[in-house]
Symmetry: C2
Amino acid sequence: MLAVGPLPGRRPARARWRERKENDIRILWVFAHPEPGSLNGALRDAGLKAVADLGHEVRESDLYAMDWNPVITAADYGDAAGRLVVGRDSAAAHASGTLAADIRAEQEKLRWADAVVVQFPLWWFGPPAILKGWFDRVLVQGFAHGVHADDGRALRYGAGPLSGRRVLTVVSTGARPETFAPRGVHGDLRHVLWPVLHGVYWYTGMDALEPLHVASADRATPADAERHAARLRARLAGLADERPIPYRHESGGDYDDDLVLRPHLAAGAAGLEAHLR
Amino acid sequence: MLAVGPLPGRRPARARWRERKENDIRILWVFAHPEPGSLNGALRDAGLKAVADLGHEVRESDLYAMDWNPVITAADYGDAAGRLVVGRDSAAAHASGTLAADIRAEQEKLRWADAVVVQFPLWWFGPPAILKGWFDRVLVQGFAHGVHADDGRALRYGAGPLSGRRVLTVVSTGARPETFAPRGVHGDLRHVLWPVLHGVYWYTGMDALEPLHVASADRATPADAERHAARLRARLAGLADERPIPYRHESGGDYDDDLVLRPHLAAGAAGLEAHLR
């Protein structure tokens, strides 16, 4: 049995954040763009300067600069002989401290952080492979999920090992903002990013903040770039005060024993909105 | 101006499929699991045998066996000097035939195929990084999107270079099926896979079939494995006759000039279901 997370229904993020002075926030900035000279590169630079000016501590995972390997292989788990079973073998390697060194280094950064900024261009309606593989390799069973309370229930969705952290997603698209609005052709950005916001962050206990959408990125003028930098600075300055997306807690009573939403909640609704409190 | 796709509203898949004899379907099988000895490996083997028995032609992209590189870099586009702009540089390299050889080989398989089977374990609610990077690197502008009709409109969502193909997704999860039902805690599987079904397949013109969900994969007994293989064989036998997910065409009149769904359609709905005809 590993670390046990907070009880459902409590606001772990608030408690954690109250304990820290506002100018002493530890921020991990994960950056997944191949070109430092891009709009994303400029926004990353502006963001890092802003958090330094705010007096926060910051560490970086610049995945392209690190030449991050995004592909899970048996070598990640000490090359255990025989058939690879990712869940089982990753949990065993985590428990015995034999995960690949690059994975352990990223886990240490996540343990350290109070907040994470995850910045990427939206490629095929999701994170670039190099970032998807950061989730795949770093968030192993026992570290980020697969941890149980004393009563046997899994600590997931609002609870779990990474509780108390909050994540700001900074995502650029070539498309215009209205095409990612609720009735836009690409789908509501919150829904497009559901696998990341709800499936990665919230599943592991981290609060998902509303993503910062940098739209029409391919056509950005210098004035647009400065406008986006100002939006980013404002979000970073208010990081501790934002209200996260109010996803439902798995163990808060809203889901039944089969983990299906109880019929009286969001009655009749079958869309992703039903999973908001 | 590259190849111009079919007009919106026509059923390109049907036309293409009518022209082929039922026993002469060309299938590309994309497989993204690290362990050939897994349940996924057994299902892949059963599926390949089934399509051979049906008399179809098949080619494979076994991404782990190929040691597929999922990370876009400037080297993909002939190492053009200066700042990397992925959309622009990939389109230029495609147009001049200088894309990396491994990308061109996968594009040739897609051109050849009538149908694609995309098989993967769901990791963090999306495809493993090695598959995400197959989408990222192979589906470049000019090949899979970014192509325009004579009147200037983009051929996307039901139209475009890959029209006439259909895709069957075979996806395994550790979780039970009801947790991916419309009110299950993880979200409806169709919504979780929206970025792939609507954002990759339909965007490039390919018809998305209802995914085959292999649930509770970690606990599968030999009898379960055989049951899943039988389900897969049935889907493969009916591949030509299935009705794809009826996503709306971008240029079919349902979206306005800003690509926002017209107010009288699915009035008031803001969920992803609104994008179904």
